[in-house]
Amino acid sequence: MAAVNTFQDLILSLQKYWSDLGCVIMQPYDMEVGAGTFHPATFLRAIGPENWQASYVQPCRRPTDGRYGENPNRYQYYYQYQVVMKPSPENFQDLYLDSLRHLGIDPLVHDIRFVEDDWESPTLGAWGLGWEVWMDGMEISQFTYFQQVGGLECFPVMGEITYGLERLALYLQGVEDFRQLVWTQKDDQVVTYADVYLQYEIEMSRFNFDESNVAGLFSQFDFFESETKRLLETGLSLPAYEYVMKASHVFNLLDARQAISVTERQRYILRVRTLARGVAQTYFKSRLDLGFPLSDAKARDYVLQETANAK
């Protein structure tokens, strides 16, 4: 197996590995998200009984994590590699460990462990049980069995793996700082992570902490909220969901400006969650109306029965 020496090799290797296992290789969602979980290929596909296997890179924005590019491994913009399989396969953990071997990580050298870390997203009304995966004490992935999404029970259960790409790359390349990561290399020509992103990181840190327009963001939040509600009334769950993502990101920007007090914070989270729940229910209904075409008969019958009972 070829050594994974560059950042882009890492992405290509993971794509190849999961593609060979039958995953739909999606592209990053073209909107600001705080985590790969927000991508409709995870959040929405976790809802209802339909089967789904997908994998994709997702750039994530966490404005409060900005450090002006000075912290060696904390950036406000970074990459996740996301894998979702529904229903979660029996050998899900083994598939994951094999993916590490595929990247050239020898589990007889590195101390790889699954350390309990139950996941909860208050804004998405979602929770699951699982682990952080530690390699030599560093969290390199998050591994979760979704139990609830948008307030709805997950059945069958979607399993989710999220790789922290930069952190994995630090190991594979034996360097200590994001800035030193080799993004790509052709002969003597090297392009580093710093070449690609450092200026962006510095400017965005300044934007997030000092320059964003707070009043404008507040009014944007209100706009996205009211539009989501309006769209849900028309049954358009997918456009509505895009506005939930936008509202969530605006909230994160306001948070970075410390523009929201502790108690208000709870209220804002609740507002986003209410929208996410609305989307989940509308999306579920739209798939129900279509007869859950991607579902196994058994799971479909169960969910149809449960839905009928609930009425």
Partner: protein, 686 residues
Amino acid sequence: MPNDHLLLEIGTEELPPKSLKKLMSSLEKNLSEQLNSAGFTFTATRSFSTPRRLAVLIEDLANKQIDQQIEKRGPAVSAAFDGNGDPTKALLGFARSCGVEDPTSLERLTSEKGEWVFYRGVQEGKYLHDEIELLVTNSVANLPIDRNMRWGSKRLEFARPVHWIVLIYGNEIVPANILGKATGRTSRGHRFMSDGECTIPSAKDYAATLEKASVIVDFEQRQQQILKQLEDQASFLDANLELDEALLEEVTALVEFPCALSGSFESAFLEIPEEALVSVMKKHQRYFHLTNDKGKLLPNFITVSNLASKDPSIVIAGNERVIRPRLADAAFFFRKDSATTMEEKLARLQSIVFQSELGTFFEKAERISKLAEFIAKETEIDEIASSRAGLLCKADLVSEMVNEFPDLQGTMGGYYATNDGEDENVCSAIRQHYMPDYSGADLPSNPVASCVALADKLDTLVGLFAIGQPPSGSRDPFALRRQTLGIVRICIENKLSLDIRTSLQTSLDLHQHESSTDEVFDYILDRLANWYGELGIDQDVFNAVRYSHAGITDLLEADHRIRSVQDFRQHQQATNLIEANKRVANILKKAALDTLEPPDPSLFREVSEKSLADQVESTQKVFSEGSLNYEEKFLQLAQLQPHVDKYFNDVMVMADDESLKNNRLAALAELRLIFLEVADFSLLQS
């Protein structure tokens, strides 16, 4: 009866480490109980657990239930046979129900009341193989799992996905279906340091077989192994191991094959407060930290890995690489926080809401300051320092460090205040004012800290009661139960003589609230009752003091009284005094006490009336001199006993003559009052 060892192993994905031991011992207990109540005998049990398995070994387990002796009484002989001596329908039916073919073969049972047909037999025990599936299923269903989960397309629930079940009796598989899996003898060794699947030849070979597959299944053994490795590493580094038992247990639950390794970080990071360094090591990374012989933190740590790595230096380097940015972050935050004073931080509390109806943390800080000053004045503690510490105690909530390490609230404030050159007592008080922060935790050692700790807790308590949000059932978001217990313990254990009623009122005034303090006061007394219950003080003793005339206002003073009553009730004289008090209380219940005039000696008709009144008067006099402690007061009261007895012997209280009756009731009321001053003895069980 043939017996052999039974092994049950539940193989899973990595279980939650903090509940692993609890799950292990519950499985052992549940299965033992199930087997016991089903009548399967065994000699001993053992349990095992690792992140990927829970297991129980039942030793010398009988393969069959004990046979049951059955005895049944049938119809009376007179009803069992007809006139011809032939069996009746009743007898035939009974015989059939007992599985007896010849009804005349049944025994007879004779008693004084008559003669009955009687069946005596043996019900053969069932076999383990037939019963075990149900017994194991019941044992598993009742495990104390904090949060169950589902996986795949199964409706089944467990703590984590289940992958295999080993169930062996002696060296035979016991076929069954447990948690959706067919039982077998195939377990799994270490994830990486074994060939994966591993066959358990017999129940007794369980631990040895897995040890060969690089899994130490015995929790205690593994923990001892880790402890030894930690000590070896520490002595190699010539350092003291700071052992945290809870961390040791958690780490033991995170590994199947422990291997302790030590690493280090740049000593420049030691400029960061030790508590933050320890928090990073312990909470984030599950590392053990080390100190030198002066107790100072060293720039080293020990981590317990889950394998004997082919190259431990890589594992060490990796761990060092993780901690460095975390410490760099902490150093960055600490420097940034230190650039502003606590007063500047305090101003920023104006934008942080404590509770929507109770205002911001800034307002809370102002209230704490004033209340702490009041408490300090009452208890003769430094008022200026208390007021200042109260004002600054919440300021670190806006610091980056507390944002990153919430458990360092207070601690960081102490550092920043020291940095600002605040008074030593003020710094200590800021540091300690959250104490006691869990049940049984240490109390503030600094007197100023006690004042601020009390003020902070009283302010929260009074505020939430005032806005109608007392804790209810499981809802106690501000941990008022714990905070109240903190108030109680600080007053009593730190010996602060403080009028709680007045303090509550002062706090309520600071909240500018009109409501009453009755409800919150009762709440405190209820928690106090609970606390005494746990200390082994009888509930009636507490109530006797609570409902005495003096009641409870100063918790420290009440504590002396409660303990004195508790001691006194062991005395011989106590029983009679309690009885007399009950009698007096009963009589007075019927009287309209508020209309009574003081007793008039001219209306005394019996000698014993006068002598009791004299005794009461002299006791009142002695008490009012105020030199007696409670124990001496009780002994004094005990001397009233013969006079009370004689009084009830000679005097008819409810006399027909109204004036005599009222005079006697008035005399008894006087008597009762001197008791009530200390405690209501009528509430004690004799």
